[in-house]
Structure formats: C-alpha cells, structure tokens
Amino acid sequence: MRLLTHNMLSSNIKGVINGFPLGIVVEKVIEKPVEMNPDFLKNMFAKIEWKALVDASRSMGYTELPEQADSSMLDSVDFLQRFHHALLELHLEEGALVCPETGRKFPVNKGIPNMLLHEDEV
C-alpha cells in the first residue's frame, strides 16, 4: 500500500465520525522505485491532506517531508522528489491500518489493505 492510498482512506465503521487519518502499524516496509511524473504530483498535491502524509511517512521511517507545505514549493525539484518518494515509493507490505476512534485494525497483507467491515460494523 502506497501512502497515496493511505491518504485517501478512512475508517467507515458505522457511527465513527472521525475515521481519518488511519494510524499505521508497521511490520514490513519496502521501497519500490517509480518514475516521477511532476504533472501528476502537482495535480495530486491539491487533493492530499498534508499532515496525514507527513505523519504516515514518519511512521514508515521517512522523515524528509517538511511539516508544512504549500503549492509554491512544487517548483522545487528537491521538494517534488521527496513528495514523490513519500507518496508513491514507500510501501506498507505487511501491517495494519488503525481506526483513530475505535482502534479497529484493518489488516494490510501483501500490500493490500483489507477495508471490508464486519457484519456488526455496517
């Protein structure tokens, strides 16, 4: 699971109001190089919850993202590379996503988050 996916997901258990951002339990992180596409990154930047991305990348062991970011920084190649690395190259291969409200764990195995709810959570 890349952090782009993490940034889009929330816990949708019935009754949960603040299901975002999901906490990350790390068992195994791998890095997969991806070709950088600056236009795609600039496009995605507007949709990203920055703080959630920073926190998520830290819990995956990557600390190079600035605390704050705004769109003027997209002109910097250095910033784009860090953003690219955090968003698309870090993978949570094994671990779990944790609902911030209930503590319910959504398992991540073989890089696939399992977001399906139990019968009594619907």
């Binding site: 699971m1 890349r2 782009l4 996916t5 940034n7 889009m8 997901l9 929330s10 816990s11 949708n12 299901g19 975002f20 951002p21 997969k32 991806v34 070709e35 596409n37 236009d39 795609f40 496009n43 995605m44 949709k47 919850e49 698309l88 764990k105 195995n109 073989k110 890089g111 696939i112 988050p113 399992n114 977001m115 399906l116 709810l117 139990h118 019968e119 009594d120 619907v122």
Partner: protein, 482 residues
C-alpha cells in the same frame, strides 16, 4: 476537412463513439463548453447502410486524423480521399479532377510509396490486383516503390453489389475509393494482450480489444489517474496502464486482489508480464460502503469498470447475515474472534450496484472526467432501450450495444461529469442507500437480471401470429454480433 474513415467490420456500435472520444482527446473540439457530448459530422457513401465499414468524417486537421487513427482499435484507416466512383473510368476522372496541389506533394521523385488493393465483401485475385494497380498510370507517381516501409501509402478499395454482403443489408451499388492513408489502428496490440496468453485470469476478465476500447472511451492518457471499483484480475486497468495512466483498483474479493494463484500469478504479475507500471493502489473495499475519507473528491480522471450484474458473476456487498434480519438474528462478532473473522457478504442487486457506482463517480471524478461502464439490457424488453441509468451530475456521451445472447446484451455507456457533486445530491444518495438497505430482499427480486436471462422462454404458440410480426420488423442480420 472530410476524410474517408474505414472501419474493421467488428463491434459496429462502438466505431463512431471511439473516433469521437479520441477526436475530443486530441483536441478536435475547441473547448469543453459544449457539454462534452458534441458529435463529429459524419456521412456515409451513397447507397451504403450505416453498418457499412465506409464512412466519411469531418476532422479539423490531418494531425487530429492521424492521432485518432493510430490510437484507435477499430479504425482500419483514415484516408484523404482522392477520388470515388462507381466504375474505373469514372474513378480516373475523379482522381484527375482532384486538385494537383493536394496530390503532387505526395508524388515527388524523392519519396517512396506503396499501393494496396483492398476489398469488402469480395476477394480480388493477385493478378486482378496487379491489373488494377497498373490501370492507375494516369496518376503521375514519380517516387520509388517500397512495399515494406513507404512514406506514402495509397489504397484502392472497392465494394461489390452482391446480396450476401457479410451479413449486412445489401449494398445497392459497386463503389470504388482511392485515397492516401493518414493513419491506421495498431491491431498488433491485440495479440500481445490477448487473454489466452495472460497468466492470471478470472471468469469475467475483459477481453483485450474491449478493454482498449473502454480506455479509449475514457480518453485515457499519460499521467491520468484511472480507477476500477470492480478490478478483479485487472484486465481493464491493464489497457489503461498501456496508454500511460496511473491505475487504482478495488475489489470485494480479497482472494482475487491479494492472493491470485500464487506469487507469479496475480494482478501484479499481469502488469509485470507486459512491462507496465504497477497499479498505484489495490485494495479490498466494498463499492456499497466505500472507505474514502470524507471530503475527498474529484481525484480520478476516469472510472472504467464492468460491474457485476449478476448474470455470469453476482455482486456482493458487506453486511451479510445482518441484512437477513428476521431470518437470522442480528449478527455480532464475538470479541475473541474479531482478528481473523471473515465477514459474510450479501448479494448486491444490479440496481443498487449501479446507483452506488454513479454516486461514487459523481463524487470522485474530476469535472469533465468520464465514467465508462457496461450495463446489461434485456433484449425482449423494447422499452428498456432508452432507460439507461441517469444522474444529475452526468450526461450520456454514447451507448454501444454488444449482443451476448438472444436474451440479453450489454451496452457500453460513456458518461461525462458536467456538474458538481452538491450537498443535495449527496443527501439524496444517502437516503436511497438507506432505502436499499431497508428493503434488501425486495430489491434482490426486482433489481436483478439473472432470472430474466435464464428463465424458460414464454410459450410461443399462444401468440404466434403476433410474435412473427414483431420479429420480422427487427433487422435480421449479424450487425451487432460481429
């Protein structure tokens, strides 16, 4: 400018929409203001039926025509027409009358060229082909012939006037076309991506040709983000990735997306097989209760999918035993079993599935983003033809039918998002969602196709007179089957 557009004789309903989508993608329409569903201008040759492979299309420039043809799947070629006629004598006049300034730049002595003779609905022997080429001496070709890799490709195409015209209504008159090729489809893609050589397949994997057509309808190009909520083995996203898109997919069946059939036979390995970039994200999620964070909207450039409509594979949604309230008591998972609990799922009716799909697409697509999906139609039901799903955010761009059996067919719907996802639309969708949940069993009966497709036919003998009349009014040719 008008071009001759010759199609492969396949998927007839899909041909013009493909050209129109690609023309839009390559900038044939000035702006998005026209509603996203403007059409190109088309003509068909005299005496030809609309299902004929020969069409004329008005495109703004040769560059657009070339880009459209080269990217397409169903365009055999787009040609600058130098002449058309009913006989070879008339053809000579027509070509001679075509302005020299259009012809001479392609006939210069330093260029290379090739002439191909082609026919529709008949076979021309090698000797006859040569005779036809020799008869073109009135065109002042100065260049050298190069059969392998010429700069300019000329085509001489003819149709005959006999009755059994590949299953089409007969063409009344023989017609001959001569033109210069501007571009043509790269059908070599299809053997490369054919399903029979793909490692990981499911029972409803989308065949390569159709997947590419869907990607073209969605105007997929590099850097776009494409989502398939029913990703399965990834067959639709593979086509999108081939055209350079970033892909994302979800499926409710975790065995399909996570495990496949082992380490070298799964969704990832399918992308690897073709050297395509891996999907950006694959997850297990329920289209009925999507886990997208609140406030997330307008992220996908296109959503392309083949929803489970319950004929070959039935849809599932979460809830399972809980929805069978009254049959089994409301189900609670005991605390000690929660970690490894495998939630049961409930059947998902087509109507609800399509409702959810439109709602998600309305929210998650960017403005002018496209939703491309298959929708099943019962063929007996004449009135159903114009009853495609609707949504206030979307307008229908095209609908293309593919007949699957005498009972039902599937229609590829292409929609474009034209309006914002407002609070009111969101609230209406929420209420409808609850309605589906409350009346689960009712919707399972009313909202599904399976029984209509597989139930025994109505007794024919009672109203034989009537059915005969109604059947004969339908055109009886292979048309949409090919």
């Amino acid at each position: 400018m008008w071009y001759l557009c010759v199609f492969y004789h396949r998927l007839l309903d899909y041909r013009r929409p493909e050209v129109e989508s690609l023309a839009r993608m390559f900038g044939a329409f000035d702006s998005e203001d026209g509603g996203g569903a403007e059409h190109l201008e088309w003509r068909i040759p005299e005496h030809h039926h609309p299902d004929s492979p020969f069409h004329f299309v008005d495109l703004p420039s040769e560059d657009v025509a070339r880009d459209v043809a080269n990217r397409s799947i169903l365009v055999k070629g787009i040609y600058e027409l130098w002449g058309e006629a009913d006989s070879y004598e008339e053809l000579e006049d027509a070509i001679k009358n075509y302005p020299d300034e259009r012809k001479l730049p392609y006939l210069t002595s330093e260029s290379t060229f090739r002439i191909t003779v082609d026919s529709f609905g008949k076979v021309i022997s090698f000797q006859e082909q040569n005779e036809r080429i020799q008869s073109l001496t009135y065109i002042p070709f100065k260049g050298r012939v190069n059969l392998r890799n010429p700069e300019h490709k000329f085509w001489l195409m003819e149709t005959d006037d006999y009755g059994a015209n590949n299953g089409l209504p007969p063409v009344v008159k023989k017609r001959i076309f001569f033109g210069r090729e501007v571009g043509s489809a790269d059908r070599k893609l299809l053997p490369t991506y054919q399903l029979k050589s793909r490692t990981y397949l499911g029972p409803t994997a989308m065949d390569a040709e159709m997947a590419f057509l869907m990607a073209n309808q969605a105007m997929v190009k590099p850097g776009k983000l494409v989502y398939d909520p029913f990703v399965g083995t990834g067959s639709i996203l593979i086509a999108a990735a081939h055209f350079g898109a970033m892909t994302m997919g979800a499926d409710i069946d975790i065995r399909v997306v996570r495990d496949g059939r082992g380490p070298d036979c799964n969704v990832w390995s399918n992308f690897k097989q073709y050297g395509l970039p891996m999907p950006i994200g694959l997850l297990r999620a329920d289209n009925n209760l999507p886990p997208w964070r609140p406030g997330l909207k307008e992220v996908f450039d296109a959503i392309i999918c083949d929803p489970p409509y319950g004929v070959r594979a039935g849809g599932r949604k979460s809830g399972g035993r809980k929805l069978l309230k009254g049959v089994v008591g409301p189900y609670t998972v005991p605390d000690d079993k929660r970690t490894d609990h495998i939630p049961s799922t409930a059947a998902y009716s087509l109507v609800e599935c399509v409702h959810d799909l439109l709602d998600i697409a309305a929210k998650m697509l960017i403005l002018n983003g496209r939703l491309v999906f298959f929708y099943p139609v019962l063929r007996e039901d004449e009135s159903a033809e114009n009853h495609f799903p609707e949504h206030p955010c979307f307008i229908l761009v095209s609908s293309s039918e593919q007949i699957l059996s005498s009972r039902y067919s599937r229609v590829l719907l292409t929609m474009v998002k034209r309006g914002p996802y407002t609070k009111e639309i969101e609230e209406a969708a929420r209420l409808k969602h609850l309605e589906f949940k409350e009346n689960h069993l009712k919707w399972m009966e009313d909202g599904n196709l399976h029984s209509a497709v597989f139930s025994p036919g109505e007794s024919v003998c009672v109203a034989e007179g009537d059915t005969k009349v109604s059947k004969e009014t339908k055109p009886k040719y292979r048309g949409k089957y090919v």
